[in-house]
Symmetry: C2
Subunit: 134 residues, 2 copies
Amino acid sequence: MIGRLNHVAIAVPDLAKATERYRDMLGATVTQPEDLPEHGVTVVFIRLPNTNVELLHPLGDKSPIAPFLAKNPSGGLHHVCYEVEDINTAVEFLLATDTMRVLNPKPKIGAHGKPVVFLHPKDNDGVLTELEQA
Amino acid sequence: MIGRLNHVAIAVPDLAKATERYRDMLGATVTQPEDLPEHGVTVVFIRLPNTNVELLHPLGDKSPIAPFLAKNPSGGLHHVCYEVEDINTAVEFLLATDTMRVLNPKPKIGAHGKPVVFLHPKDNDGVLTELEQA
């Protein structure tokens, strides 16, 4: 089912500082910050040769990242995203086997404009897991 | 400086269950568990088309993963590892700029038989960061 690792997401308390660090200290290619109001985040992508790191910072009052940063003020690894060929087939399989809860069985459109679902971290070793249709 | 994402490491409380889940539920290719006594871990690799996920479970009394699992009993995202061309050049640069602490300035031999260093999570948004010579 899962294919490429699409990205690893890191919640950061200071997006400008984090971006500078990846660019100037770690020598990576970084994108301009992009506000995604419908997701409640501002994102910067660290472009690596084989995948991306997604830096996430809260945007607006109801950011889904805010509780994580309240609990982890220094920031931290937030989720991983794997690509799947067909999101509906993936969801149907997971629902049928009933061992990994799908937080949004009806896929929503993710940060890259593609349908995504999230799996409950408690069912996957404490790791919030996103599946994105490739 | 940083190149490919070599792996994302996840600490897991039950290695057999986690491996089964990635194989049977998420349909990934998994390796046989491998004991690395000198690192205090047993590892299983999830082979993805573009990178690896490394499942880590404590081995022995002084496992570096044990305190993490004591704090996060369900498991969780533990570290990320980026490839660098030359580990000594990377360390020299980081030591000279003095903004990201290198936990072991003298590289040690990592799980893949290559020299690695770890950077202090407090200097990188709470993310334990490994650099591995490619």
